[in-house]
Amino acid sequence: MKIARLLAVGMALAMSLSLSGAFAQGKVTVKILAGQSTTDAGIENYITDAVAAKYPDIQLDWEVVGWGTDFSAKIQEYMKSGMPDMLVGKGQDIATFASRNILGDISGKPYLKNVVDAAVGSGSYKGKAYGVVYNALYQGVYYNRKLFKDNNIAIPRTQAELQTVIAKLKSLGITPFETHFVDTWSIGNITMQFMINDVFSKTPDWADQFRSGKVSYATSPLAKAVYGYNKLIYDNTWKDETFSLQQTNADGRLVQGKAAMKVSGSWSIQNFLDVDPNFDFGIFPFPNQAGNSKLIFEPNITFMKSAATKQSDAIDKILSVITTDKALGQKIFDQTKTASTIKGMGPSFKNPSQKDIEAYVSKGLLVDANSGNLQLVWGGFQDENAKDIAAWLQGSETLDQALKAADSRKAASKP
């Protein structure tokens, strides 16, 4: 009987699965919850293999979810039902989780010496270290360097200069901005970049003032200007296509020189180099009203120890592997196309935007993305605002409605 055979196959599979669990006896199992994005997909397997090579008795049990979609919801559930041993998230999670007392203190651990100083700071909260920050993303305007050079276009520092660049590109028949607003998160991301350079750089506690009712989106000229940048970009991109065109194809056009600039982050590099490994691109901060905007630095993959874990020693061993295994590091940085924050480690590929980054770093024009991300939460606030911006750009809401909608979500804005 077919059914019986199917059943038997299913049972056999179930048995083998539970057997593989039985073999794990005598080993230490470390449960890890990771919030990732697709650029990082698969690095958990590299880490598992690297740890297994050095410590065969430590078994890693991964639960990988989308950082932007499910990570914080998962954590909230686990806070009720019991936390996993380790968390892997972004730098901004440190403050959020440490303030809720769910992270274990790792101050003074030897492996922290392998982390560059700035990143140790990003992994700390109120003077105690809670996380190993493994890599960094940079956010700003990625541009086609060859195209800028060939047409004698200078990097804009002010809004007026940006207007000149846009006009020049248009006269050349080149679309100034590459966008893919079909991904609402991309609207949310660029809006936060604008907020960081125009609002939070001036008024670091703007969000608290917002929550206490002192300022609002609808009445703040700066917030209005930030929303206006979205319109500026929308007016200077492929308007008919941006709400359909997928990121991969949009990025392809930037590489091909059909568009000149993209407000984005390091995650785009993977796509650029997939299209053309020799693509020459740079990065500059999106010009703000004051003309003093900074390149945004975001501590990205961050390994954290849970406060409640019973596997503290095993986790220390894992973290020491992660911060010393150069082959592992190279694999991860090469795949994610990101900059390392671990001493003596780095990718083997050439990142053409690195020289721009170094120039901004030496001029002190670097700002931590946490100056915004720790003020306004992503899920339920930033992402919802982005939907209103999309509706406004498409003409189904007015600017005033979109701004007021943000005000109406005040209660949900705190991380």
Partner: protein
């Protein structure tokens, strides 16, 4: 006396066969429904130990919440249009492919295959079709059809409806085909002898005899449309803006991302209520028609 105790024992044995199913169904469906109803009367954020009582305020809040109202409107528009179009198309294809066409089995199979694809996958596929593949077809044929249907709030509904027809017409078509094949040929022969036209045959024989199939398809499509979710997750993410946010999608956003379990539950309860009411009304009306005919 002995016999009745034996019968009683047999009945108990039968009941014990039913109990595992009843238990699972109760724990997995009925208990969550009762819990959901309870949550809907609280302002729980899913996080605290206590569930603050809120009475019916969540339901009142929903009526004043522009996003919830627009999600309902979208869902209802999608449901009405989808039910009408999908039934009409399925029936039309069934009639054509039950007729005298060469290779009709091949056509039927091709039309049917898309429903084997997971709805979430259908969304990914069509996102690509609309943004890239079909515009390339435009270039090939020298036409200027606007295929970027997911790109604007005005065209996203037609865009999703097309995807949904692509996926499900073949499925419902087969039910209509089965219905058609169960109609006795003699009825048509008699009508032909009476000189009835094709249209008349269709209206007087085919449609009435198809009543049971129509009932199934109408109710099935309506109920399926009211709970549409997977399709948007992968294609439009409810956008542009919020223009394709269905009610389940809105519940997900409200509850999981927005941490408002109580309020989200209130929306769920109204959805279940609407589903039950619609199904009962439709079944009642269609069954009455079946009896009359």
């Amino acid at each position: 006396m002995r016999k009745s105790s034996l019968a009683r024992r047999t009945e108990l044995e039968f009941a014990s066969l039913m109990i595992p199913g009843l238990f699972l169904f109760s724990v997995g469906v009925i208990v969550p429904m009762l819990l959901g109803f309870y949550y809907s009367l609280t302002s729980w954020d899913g996080f605290t130990k206590d569930l603050p009582w809120a009475g019916l305020s969540n339901y009142a809040k929903m009526l004043a919440d522009a996003n919830a109202v627009s999600a309902w409107l979208f869902t209802l528009k999608f449901t009405v249009l989808n039910t009408v179009i999908q039934n009409a198309l399925s029936l039309a294809f069934a009639v054509v492919l039950d007729g005298n066409l060469r290779g009709k089995k091949v056509y039927r199979t091709i039309l049917f295959v898309p429903c084997l694809i997971a709805p979430i996958v259908a969304g990914y596929i069509w996102l690509r079709m609309y943004s890239d593949v079909l515009p390339a077809l435009n270039a090939l044929l020298g036409t200027k059809i606007n295929f970027r249907l997911f790109g604007s709030g005005d065209t996203v509904l037609p865009g999703l409806l097309i995807v949904n027809q692509w996926q499900w017409v073949g499925y419902w078509m087969l039910i209509y085909v089965a219905g058609l094949q169960s109609i006795p040929v003699e009825l048509y022969e008699a009508a032909r002898v009476d000189g009835a036209s094709r249209t008349r045959q269709f209206l007087r024989i085919t449609l009435p005899m198809l009543a049971p199939a129509i009932t199934i398809c109408v109710v099935g499509i309506t109920v399926g449309s009211l709970r549409v979710y997977d399709l948007m997750v992968s294609s439009t993410s409810g956008g542009p803006g919020r223009s394709s946010t269905s009610i389940i999608y809105q519940i997900y956003n409200t509850a999981i991302a927005g941490r408002q379990y109580g309020y989200g539950s209130a929306m769920s309860m109204t959805l279940i209520f609407v589903l039950l009411v619609v199904a009962v009304i439709q079944l009642g009306a269609l069954r009455r028609r079946e009896v009359q005919l």
